[in-house]
Symmetry: D2
Subunit: 355 residues, 4 copies
């Protein structure tokens, strides 16, 4: 199967390169009868859009999304929805210098080994620019899930470098350029990013995504488990190197009687499981964490080779993010929404109704 689709009943297929004519996608499986407009999608596209502060690349992307099909008189028809976002403000010439080089940490080397050639302009298809359509598709899923059963999917920056942010206030998240929920971290984050900018370096981050009001029963064991599909979707985001559900790697040193979530007639007493038991949602909030590596394009020179095997030293400045993890918040929300939407539809299909 082509690698550019995700989901079964709710299926998102995308195309587009960093410096191509446009990015686009087809969203298949949206039930008919839901009000939907381009504005519904633009909200999250704007949250993802860089250029709003010094913390992310100054490259200005006017990501205006167009819905080309699947809507009639303002309502979804149940047919496939075509999405289009034109590319603008491209400085392809910036990339001439790396056309024959493999930028360490980037996909240049592996793409060329796989395809025998590559679109070197801004990383081509391997650029995070591709996530624009993921965010638009996720916005459709978010809206459906909210209308249909009140599911609320939100994310925030949990850590940048050594600075850990606690979930103190959801309202704070949209009020600072870091998607940070912890007002006490803002100054430290500000200093960290300013210093990194000064020295032309970048840093990794941890993002947490939480879905509330998820009904119990979502997930199709033994392979299409909800946690497994979330891991797939989240790991498919550029720069993600790790995924956790609930306590994640902390379970390694936990004892059996510490880890299990006890149950009372009032519900669960804890949520170490992150809302998923045996690959199926339990009705508790679904919690996932992801680790994003630092951008590889920094001012520090490094060693690499050309397509012809010659060793060279390069400095890949470009106009890149100091912390790609920040922009990953709306992207990760979108991927969780896409997975939950798909499983919501699958669960409805398989529900019991025969005696």
């Amino acid at each position: 199967m082509g690698g550019n689709s995700i989901g079964n009943l709710f299926r998102v297929t995308t195309f587009g390169e960093s410096h191509g004519k446009a990015l686009g996608g087809i969203i298949d499986g949206v039930p008919p009868g839901m009000k939907l407009s381009e504005d519904d999608l633009q909200i999250d596209l704007n949250r993802r859009c860089p250029g709003k502060s010094l913390y992310i690349t100054p490259r200005y992307e006017h990501d205006k999304v167009y819905i080309l099909s699947g809507i009639f008189e303002g309502v979804t028809t149940g047919t496939s929805i075509g999405l289009l976002v034109q590319n603008k403000d491209q400085h392809s010439e910036d990339y001439q210098s790396i056309r024959d080089l493999y930028r360490p940490g980037h996909a240049d080397y592996s793409y060329e080994k796989k395809y025998g050639m590559r679109d070197y302009r801004g990383g081509g298809r391997s650029s995070a620019r591709e996530t624009v359509i993921r965010v638009a598709a996720g916005a459709i899923a978010k809206k459906y899930l909210a209308y249909r059963c009140g599911i609320k999917i939100r994310g925030f920056i949990a850590q940048i470098g050594h600075i850990k942010c606690e979930l103190k206030d959801w309202n704070q998240v949209e009020q600072n350029p870091f998607f940070c929920p912890d007002i006490d971290c803002l100054e430290a984050l500000d200093i960290l990013i300013r210093n990194l900018k000064k020295y032309g370096n970048s840093i990794g981050a941890k993002v947490t995504i939480i879905a509330e009001n998820v009904p119990a029963g979502l997930g199709e064991p033994v392979f299409d488990r909800l946690d497994a599909d979330l891991a797939h979707a989240l790991m498919s985001i550029n720069a993600v190197k790790g995924v956790e559900i609930g306590d994640g790697f902390a379970v390694i040193s936990q004892l059996g009687n510490e880890n299990r979530d006890e149950i009372t007639s009032q519900g669960f007493l804890s949520n170490h499981a992150g809302g998923i038991l045996g690959g199926i949602s339990s009705g508790q909030p679904v919690i996932a964490h992801i680790a994003l590596k630092p951008a590889s394009s920094v001012k520090q020179p490094c060693n690499t080779v050309t397509r012809y095997g010659n060793e060279v030293e390069i400095i890949t400045e470009g106009r890149h993010d100091i912390c790609v993890g920040i922009r990953a918040v709306p992207i990760a929300e979108a991927m969780m929404a896409i997975v939950l939407m798909d499983h919501f539809l699958r669960n409805r299909a398989q529900c019991s109704d025969v005696k």
Copy 2:
């Protein structure tokens, strides 16, 4: 799509419950012409098989696998391969006591919410017993990949509780009951497990899986990336709560110039990426780590409710593993083999050959 299949060109579909008549699977997509026998599969099934030491459940499972189709005169024919493993030594009566209870940490609650009922005997389909067929399927993939391009897939215990094991000696891994590569950890692990057994508790673990000689080019961006499919496959293993590729969560506090793997004419100077760049294998060893939670069935009593909402205190002794992570080593190897096999075939299909 049914949730009991994994893979596209190399597709594994399974059935069977902990205490049903049998476990089985269908392996579709094995290329014709490879010598294959039941013995090839039995090796890994025995490695997974409990009962060989006090560290894992004394339940004796004689997991003899039968190949029912797809082989003619000792060679694969290219048609689907049917596998069967009969269930024996079942003590279903042991589970009468929990037929109306939800065991905390188990899938009892979520399965019943999803399906409206459940096979309570040993967890039914949610039992790790289901992984028997995964291991058999993985053995087929391992053999193909080894023959075809010398890929070698091996795993080991990297941590149990607070005891971290270093990869000092691959040969040591198969010589101790922990799949531990670090002889200096054996005594500590022995004491830890003995104490947990004495107090009837369990503990989590970390398992590392490494695939060597993986050719560059495996992975189908932007969604069926190699890292994303590995995350899906590994997270689908019972008790797994986290997956890392390469440096994983350590990247959060790394700087851009630390994380990227520099390249020379002799190859990469490091492997922070875990052998995957942009979702495509780079030719370096593919490295993944998983976190497994402690078994939830321990002697410490805990609170739960019945199907009817009544609160009760239970002790779910049964005959369970002290550290399920140990048995997860051959299972995780199998899942990585299944994913690499699928991507090896997919990559071959898409290779360039037109000018």
Copy 3:
């Protein structure tokens, strides 16, 4: 994707060769809560089973089916259902003579070109023996659809050679060895088959399948249309060379005002469309016709070549059906049931419920 699966939400995967150890399958996607027993499946297996008359091969196949999983206390659990049918009464030695020959009309040649080798015993995987599991899977779908919304799926022989049978009496269908609904054809059919048997020849047939009480709305345009999926499923039956929906090829010479089915407040005035409009069920009976070629193994000698290219004349007697179309009736019913079941679940998943 492996070629041995069909369906998305209701997914049937099979294995097994004509003379292998066993045939089996995995049925994934059966909703939980339906009473199901091996007897429910055996009924159709017996209808398909040869040996009940001279009209079909004397080979006695005792197709006892075993359900190995997915049922608990007599009810489906929503997990995958494993099926097994053992092979018996094999006369593999009968096939030694053709191990190096390509039987014209059989798949010997194409299988060997594809796989580089073949299991020559009774055609191996290409044998109609494989349809045993399709019939068992179809029986599950039939039962679900009948319970869930009263859908009734039945087939009959519409033509053998030049003898056309009219649908005069459904009850007659199960009372003669031809699945013929037209009592006035029985004698002619009897004579035809006896003569063919005498001269060791075979004949083609046409089978009609009708599903009643199919709710309007099944089918997922523009590719997974109900008619397209039926065409796929029916054409996948051994020896089928043509598929029609409704009037089929008769539409070629129809005028626009003849073909369209007019509508009144009482419903449609005709059913030229065969119950499908724009790829979606209209609520009228779904009608399909298939053409089956005559068995290629007959007493008349014919020319062929060996694997080594040598020309030879062969007579492939074996113990084969005079009219394979007869046995195809329950198989075609099963394939229609599998498709309708899949689309019933898919339609439920996509139904509108948001404003």
Copy 4:
């Protein structure tokens, strides 16, 4: 899975309605390294394009196709290819009169039953306008197959009404407005169509598609057989009611010794099978026939009901084809190309190379 995709390794996904903003698609799985331009696609789009004669609807569709991604420096990159065709010349107001009516023979009724509403403008998604993208996708597959192994896929009109056309001259096909290969039929066809136009009626047709130089071995039994996938793809074309492979329905009255294709050291002596044995290509030309119903929109009045159940008489003139079968030739060629391309890649993936 969403119903708007077809194929596994070569996957075509489409969107767009008759009177929406645009039609588009994503072609996933095109191997890298093939030269490809918009002109390569435009050729077939023009062949499909109406308005070139009185025989087809005067509606002028300027189907200029844009490739938005997947090509770099004139060559495919192996990433997904985005296609876009803008809609123009729309007379939506023409359809106001039928907004509350179900046009007999059209999908109005079934779409509304399924989705609870419909885009009534020109049939919305159910319009044959949707096939524009299929033709563009097919053109990519045709080019690849021609370059890669000389496969040549061509179609022609085999029958309109009672007028049967013989394959006398391939060159003639592109030289008349009927795609007719039989110069002796042209006058009769001309008179037939002129009369139908005069009386405002329409007629059915039969189209034959032949693929030459298809290598032996394409097809994945037992369900994803080449013939089964062709039946699926061809039956998914608007107005198609029947599909035949090789002799098709003629096999019903054939004897076993007539139907089988004998083999000599020079190859097969006949091609009753249509180039497919056991669901796998035999190396002979692959031959398929399809039956297309007459357009339902004609000047003759007919009975129908409104959405509210009121009986009315309608005349759905519009600007429609007298024989939709004519335009179906390039569409059917495209669908066969899409299926062969997918199976070519799948076969390459599964080929034997291990001992």
